[in-house]
């Protein structure tokens, strides 16, 4: 994503709600889609910090997001999205 200087978050938020833009696009937030506990799609990420089959740590604009589970694999990684499959048990936000 862009490396431009950003407006303060509060102003971004009010601007986004005024323009009725989707929050994730306007605020550059990660978007997480879950299919039950089998599949997780994380859009708008900043890279992988650590990957094991029990825990995946992904860097985002919110800080670090940790996905706990069992037998997890990374089905796809692309520059804007990561797909995790396996037995997902929990998601933790380690806010920066």
């Amino acid at each position: 994503m862009s490396r431009r200087r950003r407006l303060p978050v509060r102003i971004q938020e009010s601007l986004a709600s005024f323009l009725e833009l989707p929050q994730d696009a306007a605020l550059d937030l990660p978007k997480i889609t879950l299919f039950g506990n089998l599949k997780l799609i994380l859009e708008n990420h900043r890279g992988i910090i650590a990957y094991t089959s029990e825990a995946i740590r992904i860097s985002t604009t919110l800080g670090e997001i940790k996905i706990n589970g069992k037998n997890m694999i990374l089905r796809h990684i692309k520059s804007d999205l990561i797909t995790v499959e396996g037995d997902i048990r929990g998601i933790e936000y380690g806010l920066a």
């Binding site: 890279g47 992988i48 990957y51 089959s53 990374l74 089905r75 990684i77 520059s79």
Partner: protein, 411 residues
């Protein structure tokens, strides 16, 4: 997922094994370079496996150096690699081509010829039709493109004049010959020699149309069975105009023809029937029982259900499950399931009127069933007769019809 696999199979992909350390760094570097990776999983020994497009192979070395990690190419998949391995084994390729060719070649032959008839064949046998088809070239192992369906249909029809229609359909390697037989003329229409038309039953003449021959009865006359209705002998004296000529020639031999015509007459039928007043009726009570038995070596073993059937009267349905036979070897055991349904026999008392009505309807239906084609029912009556027995009723039914009573009798 399968579709995705095919999409990656065509251009080819590499299966990478990324050394135990700095795996994540490699993944992030790949992401930054826009190298797509998929099916990434960590193996128990700590190495990461991932798949990568073949076209990204060039940057792989650079990524490994930057990420300071060990990368091994474990496997190469794709059309290009497959083609290379096939080229090394040309005989295999040849075999594949040969297989396809043989399949195509063999599917161009007719292997089965079947005859399909609606109903039953009356004048011909299936073998005769197959023989005619074979003579025209339609037989097993015939080359399909060399067969002309129209010519075959025409040819079979010409060989077998008993057929009214022949249709041939190819269904793969099977040829179906559909035939329709000509309907044979009725026996009496095949008689061409001189003949009378005689009454086949007693009746009152109602309608008389003479097409050939000489009428011997008039409308309103009663006739008995066997009486000549239309004569096939035309006496010369009655041939009007030629009377004088015949007299002159002194030729008095009568002319013989095959008499034809329609003689409709009123015909009466009657039939007596006795019916009982008490009908024994078996009904299911709804109580059921089931036994499962195993039959082996001439003995039966009860597996489930009561050893004694708890009903005095019952109906039983038997299902036998035999294991599938393997060639000529049959397992000498089978499973028998018996369903019992208790029945109750009840005597049903009918009033004499109802019994008589039912018996009368039954007798009328039987009579009507035996009527010849074209008969019209004019009147029907049910008469209750005095019965000698107490527990039965006696009825007589009368039926009046209008029908053609003419029958051909050769001279």
């Amino acid at each position: 997922m399968a579709w995705h696999n095919w999409l990656s199979y065509l251009p080819g992909y590499l299966l990478l094994e990324i050394g135990p350390r700095n795996g994540e760094r490699f993944l992030n570097l790949a992401l930054a370079r826009g190298v797509a990776l998929w099916d990434i999983h960590r193996r128990p020994d700590g190495n990461i496996e991932a798949k990568m497009r073949l076209s990204d192979y060039k940057v792989l070395r650079e990524l490994a150096r930057q990420g300071r990690c060990r990368i091994r190419i474990k496997d190469k998949q794709g059309l290009a690699f497959w083609w290379r391995s096939v080229r090394r084994r040309q005989l295999l390729l040849l075999g594949g081509v040969f297989f396809c060719l043989a399949l195509w070649l063999l599917s161009n032959f007719i292997w089965v010829v079947e005859v399909r008839v609606k109903g039953e064949l009356k004048q011909l046998s299936r073998a005769q039709i197959l023989q005619a088809a074979a003579a025209e070239g339609l037989k097993p192992a015939a080359w399909k493109p060399g067969l002309d369906i129209r010519a075959l249909e025409y040819g079979i029809g010409r060989r077998l004049p008993q057929l009214a229609w022949v249709g041939i359909i190819f269904a793969g390697t099977k040829a179906e010959i559909e035939v329709v037989e000509k309907i044979a003329l009725p026996e009496e229409d095949r008689l061409t020699g001189p003949a009378h038309i005689v009454a086949s039953k007693d009746g009152l003449i109602q309608e008389l149309v003479v097409l050939a021959g000489e009428a011997r009865v008039k409308i309103g006359e009663t006739v008995r069975r066997g009486e000549i209705l239309i004569s096939g002998i035309i006496l010369p004296s009655q041939e009007g105009k030629d009377k004088d000529a015949i007299k002159k020639n002194n030729n008095l031999t009568p002319r013989l023809v095959r008499a034809r015509g329609i003689v409709r007459a009123r015909v009466w039928y009657e039939k007596d029937l006795t019916a009982p007043l008490v009908i024994a009726e078996t009904r299911l009570t709804g109580r059921k029982a089931m036994q499962v038995k195993l039959a082996a070596g001439g003995k039966e073993f009860l597996l489930k259900g009561p050893p004694q059937i708890p009903f005095s009267s019952f109906e039983v349905k038997k299902k036998v499950f035999a294991p599938p036979s393997w060639g000529h070897f049959n397992l000498p055991a089978e499973l028998i399931i018996l369903h019992y349904q208790e029945t109750l026999v009840r005597n049903f008392h009918l009033t004499p009127e109802r019994a008589a009505a039912a018996a009368g309807e039954k007798a009328l239906a039987e009579l009507k069933n035996s009527l010849p084609a074209g008969a019209r029912v004019l009147k029907e009556r049910i008469i209750i007769l005095p019965s000698t027995q107490k527990d039965e009723v006696k009825v007589r039914v009368l039926l009046e019809t209008s029908e053609d009573i003419g029958a051909v009798a050769p001279l």
